[in-house]
Amino acid sequence: MPQPLSYTLVITGAPWATQAPQTALSFAQALLKAGHRIDRVFLYGDGVHLASALSAPPSDEQHWPRLWSEFLSGNNITAVACIASALRRGIVDKTEQARYELTASNLRAPFEIAGLGEWVEGNLKSNRVLYFHGTH
């Protein structure tokens, strides 16, 4: 098959508020099946809600944070939630919990907190950068 390409996927739409996490996951699965590579998944704006460990949807609905974390872990894909977006929305890891003296942390593995530099790097290094937005 022709040369595999590398992708950075940016998700800016939140689960259950937009289709972004679903479209992105279906795309990502098809991408790997076609033999291409995902360099990283970057959550920005409302997309950071996908990295919450505390989502508790009804049992008959798709559990987007869990589906995504299984996909990322199962395929060893780097996944980052943008720190500025995450902190505002209360998505924090243990480091930020300590820094801001918050009562809990709730970042779902394997997501990590990082800055926009990760997105800039994707822009530089990946063959393709795709965005999965909401509809506002």
Binding site: P2, L5, Y7, Q19, A20, T23, S26, F27, Q29, A30, L31, K33, A34, H36, N127, R128, V129, L130, Y131, F132, H133, T135
Partner: protein, 95 residues
Amino acid sequence: MPENTTATLHIINKAPEHARFRHCLASAQQGDTLLLIEDAVLALLDRGKQLPGASYGLEADANARAVANRVPADQLVDYAGFVQLTVNHSRIINW
């Protein structure tokens, strides 16, 4: 005539009434491809919309909205087709 001659893949997920839809259509050049995903698949039925020649809807979104059977089959692509479109275009705008 614009300098850039790279064919562009425009991917849009907004319903046809959304302001950004108009800007997307206005920006599509000869040779570009338009991929309608999520709510944007409705544009395939919108008689008021002039879509560029190479316009496709994402099949799953057309099925969800019960529009797939009102659109020619060769205008729908599945997620594998979505992937292939992104492989074929080095310039992609996500509207």
